[in-house]
Symmetry: C4
């Protein structure tokens, strides 16, 4: 099976999951209020959560693209690893809403844990896809660049551990863990923009 339709389906899920995030912001504004201005300022964690999750889904999209660039064909196992991966990506709007609603609250720890577990699961599924496709060159393009493949492996492998560490941070300080989720996304964008140029195939 060619990978074209897999990419269409994945891009659809990414785009919808990202765009649904705004419904969470909408929910936070709640019932008709007589002081809209202050209500809009009070729900600032919703905007931050929206931006961090949108950016995170954007990063996942870019990485999925880089991965599929090296993959030539898909078998059933790879298709279902993708479905499992998309299942956790499409879950992201839910913990995003929890963080937005509960971060200034006694529910902060549970919310930050739920968010971190979801992102950790995303990173685990991403590695599962990549290892299944790349070990022994199973599904890679015949002309794949071995250096690029090794580089991808090296940059993906630590992600689940980093997310797990940030998730566990929530047990001590949920606000800190949420700051780390955001900082990691911003760091990834900057690092990848600065150093990505040389790593990428033109």
């Amino acid at each position: 099976m060619r990978t074209g339709r897999l990419e269409t389906f994945a891009d659809g899920v990414f785009a919808i999951a990202a765009t649904l995030l705004i419904l969470n912001v909408d929910t936070q504004i709640g019932e008709h209020t007589s002081d809209l201005g202050n209500r809009l300022l009070a729900i600032w964690p919703s905007y931050v959560a929206y931006a961090v999750s949108f950016l995170t889904i954007g990063i996942i999209w870019v990485n999925h693209h880089a991965l599929m660039d090296q993959v030539e064909r898909a078998d059933r196992v790879f298709l279902f690893l993708n479905v499992g991966f998309l299942l956790v990506v499409a879950f992201i709007p839910f913990p995003t809403r929890l963080v937005a609603e509960y971060i200034q609250d006694e529910g902060a720890t549970a919310a930050a844990l739920a968010y971190g577990i979801t992102l950790t699961a995303t990173a685990v599924m991403f590695n599962a896809m990549w290892f299944y496709a790349s070990v022994g060159g199973r599904l890679l393009r015949p002309d794949h660049d071995p250096a690029a493949v090794k580089g991808i492996t090296r940059s993906y492998l630590p992600a689940p551990w980093i997310y797990l560490a940030m998730t566990l941070t929530a047990l001590i300080d949920p606000t800190l863990s949420v700051i780390l989720y955001g900082a990691f996304a911003v760091f990834w964008v900057i690092e990848s923009s600065v150093f990505g140029r040389t790593r990428m195939r033109s």
Copy 2:
């Protein structure tokens, strides 16, 4: 009519239906609660229902792809059989929510029946599409593999009956029927991953 735009439309519906499933989980969390941790644990049927329905839509997507692989062109009847098929697929998020919300409740039978009827209808519409396209090779590629076509027919035909049996199980034990829906999806993924390799065109 070429089938490209049909696949785009179908993939859009699959991706949206799957991604909308998360809204049901969101609904179960309900109003602001002072004990988010326990609330998150209490709604575990929502996560299971989310995963089973997402996986089921993923399986439908893979099967739709396998079917369209053998089909070369579409006429009006085939287009509308597809619309009818997508109509029942897009319905799945609704009974998913019912099962998640009512399975531990006196509404369990009604919810499990609604879920089973929807999946049975999906399987019936799938067979209708396939038989219309394949009988006498009506819409198949001129170079289709007769063995592959027979294999697909043999593997699709029992699906409506299996889903009907699981649906009727709900009348006796709704929990059992829901477990069967999930087990069938997992079984299908494993069976198709293990044996699919030899059946699939490379």
Copy 3:
């Protein structure tokens, strides 16, 4: 501008509008109820409304496809006629919910009028797109079939008047007008399936 990206955008709006219809059914089920079975039977107008609107959007999709088949390129006016057309198509889920919720109620006339006005506007915008593209062959493929173009014009022209007539019927009998909307969709599918074969380009 080539029409490829226009079709992608339109197919996205069709697929999302159709899939969002299920949210209306979900809304009708309302809060947690102790008698789910009867509640599911009581909201039967929701299922009918869902099916009729899904089918109607499916018909619109098929017709949009047939139209774009004759069109080779798009200018700004045509793009914005498309945006206006999609604007009314994406509006369909709203009156669908109104009909589902109010058809057995004193709000039936208003709901049936809202539904009919939306479908009439869809038909008007469809004709506007087609006339802009086809008059003098402005945007048509150089090798378009003049007979096919005339056939399309003849079959689209009456649609706004038919929908207007059904809409006005709502002033006398809203239930009848809703039955007519559904019957017209089913009729269209059957007529086009039976006679479409000869009209279509293979």
Copy 4:
């Protein structure tokens, strides 16, 4: 990286954001009412807000297309500028709902400001993408038309300032600023339809 998958992702976000707008209209109708007809007339600002935002997203889509027409490839910085751009576009349904709900109310200023800030941010991100891609011809097609590129630059540059001015108008008269948002969209469509013909390639 080729730009094809970027366009798919962007078109997905545009289509979903536009189609989600109808949920805001649906929310305004609220609980079951015994006088649906008057309720439908009373929420007329929702229809206007829906139409203006749908049209605005349509304009953004057309402009994004015109921009991508000149761009040949994407690097990481450009990808993330796009993600940031889509992040603000996907935000539009939220202030649209605020304007629809609060424009006849004491919250009108806050709502009109939120709407204007979102559109200003969209225009800023659009310029950022374009300047990154076009300065020194960084990502442009080798055969890009220098006159077309200059024309695009000239027509995009004032947009953030125009939106900022309309946003600030909300501090004096929120209704006026909302009328200006709508008038600007309509003006853009007409101007671009009349004069776009000569400016466009082919």
